[in-house]
């Protein structure tokens, strides 16, 4: 774990209680077997493994967990959840942490993932449906990867697989839904 200092453990572990309440999952059940990390496709690229995320919550290391790149590199593939011998829904826990990290603006460790998700949703808000060309262009601009060529644009164009103009069905619906969601989320439940 990228912890630089001795960890001073606090007798009251608010973070653990918060995560358990928020997700309904029993984090204390985790006995650190590592099966989650063993099968996780992206664990090799993470700064801390999914198992260490669970341990971090158990010890109340909020910053270490929420600032990790790991929670942004998790692709929600649910292999961990499927196989956890303590039947913990790890993918759900990490998803909640990602939402929390996003809400608290702690996305620096994998900023690009957050930018991608934000851009994606923005496209959906604008058009109701995803516009892939728009997503690629916007993402490249906002992530500062101006020369990012991941979209294989020329070959895709030549095969007629990209539409230049977005479809806009349902756009107004999505705007309304998004507005209502924001409203509902502001209200404390």
């Amino acid at each position: 774990m990228p912890v630089q200092n001795t960890i001073a453990l606090k007798p009251v572990n608010d973070f653990l209680l918060f995560v358990q309440r928020h997700t309904g999952e029993s984090i204390t059940s985790c006995y650190q077997c590592g099966k989650c990390s063993a099968g996780c496709p992206t664990a090799y690229a993470m700064d801390i493994t999914p198992r260490q995320i669970m341990r971090g919550i158990q010890l109340g290391l909020k910053d270490e967990v929420l600032d990790s790149s790991a929670i942004w590199l998790c692709v929600s593939c649910q292999i961990c959840t499927l196989r956890c011998p303590r039947e913990i829904d790890i993918a759900k826990v990490i998803e909640s942490l990602r939402q929390l990290s996003h809400a608290e603006g702690r996305t620096h460790a994998q900023r690009d993932m957050a930018v991608l998700y934000d851009t994606f949703l923005q496209q959906v808000h604008l058009f109701g449906r995803l516009h892939e060309v728009g997503l690629g262009m916007m993402y490249n601009m906002r992530s500062m990867h101006v020369f990012n060529n991941v979209m294989r644009l020329p070959s895709l164009f030549s095969r007629g697989k990209l539409k230049l103009r977005p479809e806009i069905e349902g756009a107004s619906e999505v705007k309304q839904i998004a507005a209502r969601v924001k409203e509902l989320e502001r209200k404390p439940s």
């Binding site: 774990m1 650190q32 590592g34 990390s37 099968g39 090799y44 801390i48 260490q52």
Partner: protein, 665 residues
Amino acid sequence: MSRIGVFVCHCGTNIGGIVNVPEVVEAAKAMPLVAYADENKYTCSEVGQGSIRDAIREQKLDRVVVAACSPRMHENTFRKTVATAGLNPYLLEIANLREHCSWVHSDSKKATAKAIDHVRMAVAKVARHESLFPKQVGLTKRALVIGGGITGIQAALDIASAGHEVVLVEKEPSVGGRMSQLDKTFPTLDCSACILTPKMVDVAQHPNITLLSYSEVKEVRGFVGNFEVDILKKAKMVDHKTCTGCGTCWQKCPEKVTSEFDLGLGQRTAIYIPFAQAVPNKPVIDMENCRYQKYLKWTQTEEGKKPPECRICEKLCPTKSIAWEQQEEIVTEKFGALVVATGFKTFDHSVYGEYGAGRYPDVISSLQLERLMSAAGPTEGEVLRPSDNTHPKNIVFIQCVGSRDDKVGRPYCSKVCCMYTAKHAIMLKEHDPEVQCYVFYIDIRAGGKDFEEFARRAQDESGAVYLRGRVSQIYQDGKTLKVLGEDSLIGRPVEIDADLVVLATGMEASEDADRLAQTLHISYNIYNFLIEAHPKLRPVETQTDGVFVAGAAVGPRDIPDCVAHGSAAAAKVIGLLSQDSLTTDPLTAIVAPMKCVGCFACKAVCPFNAIEEQTTRDGRIIASVNESLCKGCGLCVVACRPGAINLRGFTNQQLLSEVMTLVRR
């Protein structure tokens, strides 16, 4: 008028920490018929028991309530206490303030109120107790041991050596159990066969032991000292009285089937002994697979040709021992005590899809590895991997498969697999110095004499690499197996290319353990392991008198513990059988002759056939209870509409007064 004494126990702080004991004492003093009440720090201690005796004498008490722990804990202790002070031991009642009160409640006020109620009920009940006198019944000085693994063998030998007759029932064609499948045994690495075989032979030769192999217990009647057991002897189709075990038949039998004993890795014939050192060393015929049986069962409607008649075994047997006319039979035997030692089976790893669910030939169980390592096994001790018979070099072990896993419904630790895996790592290195073992573990559980040292040896001397983590997946990649794990100590995923993967599968209760337990009226837990009367203090006894349990049937256990357990059960049986008569529990049903109308509704419900017919002097036929058969269940009492039959210790009046004292307080 009774003079009741009430003794309230603090149990250190176990009770006193929650229940306000002085308040309970004060409340007791105010109860009707209570002549004396006091408190004790530890009532079951010498001092505590002494104070009861003193009070009985000094206060002329005629009945006693002890308000302490569960009656299942100390009822007998305190019965003896009051008896030594001259009271009838049945003039005692226990109020459970510990297990049912202080240990489960945190609100002191409410717990105290409840404690007072429980004392009140006990007082109401004890006031209606009568003096009871146990009777003596005879007993059959023979024991039945069910299961012929190392545990059952040890128990049978110990009981037999003490001079009692023993019948040992084993469902397989040979005794030996799982231990006979092992190669060497931790922590000393002696050869399993070398230490087991002599004991198996002793069983066969002991004058006091009758071995019924290929047999099962069907039905059990009676009670401690006087059990009557129906034993099913399966048809062996071989007359073991004349068979000399020459082996001609099983060498010549043409029908080959996969061997259960070698766990699918080897073959046996249709007429077979499961392994070379089998006891009895005489064959049985597997009727499912025997060609002659197929020939007999073949009908015209089936497709294909009629199979050959075969009967080679019959033709070649020098002693004419093949007995096609043999039928299964049920024999009924009498016993004074029973020992259940039915052992375990290993977890079936095919539920683990992520480990290939049995699809990958080179992913094997530890017990299969034992067969591969055994000189008497299918590969004659050469460790060859099943897919291509090559010598594996990189071998990965995965511990806790089917143990400590809620996902597969097995949250418990199987206790022996850490140790046997260390054993395997050590032995494989001895077999082939080029072997590299990797062991994935979660914790290493090596509690036991010389165990930790042994487990260390696997790493320090045999160079096994231990990785702390549970493997997530195995997949076949060409000829190798990719094993995906995490080394949780360094916190990085690891990937190993393995030639062979060995799953340390956990221990499960044996097939049918629940059915057998039901037949014997003993308890079993949700995993079908048998439940002992007390996990610490009565580890081989059960709630049913005269039925004892031992070995891996009770829970995961290694051989040293199984042997100790087998001997412990034997000691209990010997103690029981050394008595000339048994004292029966006097808490039985009793009929009031004047009230009985002779309807025999009681007889219809009595599970123990304890109700008999009796003619009164005035010629009426009424019910009477055979006290040595009655087990005091009370079914008859509820069935009897005129209220003529009652249960001592739990009479209608007593239960009613308990209820009344509660609702009218």
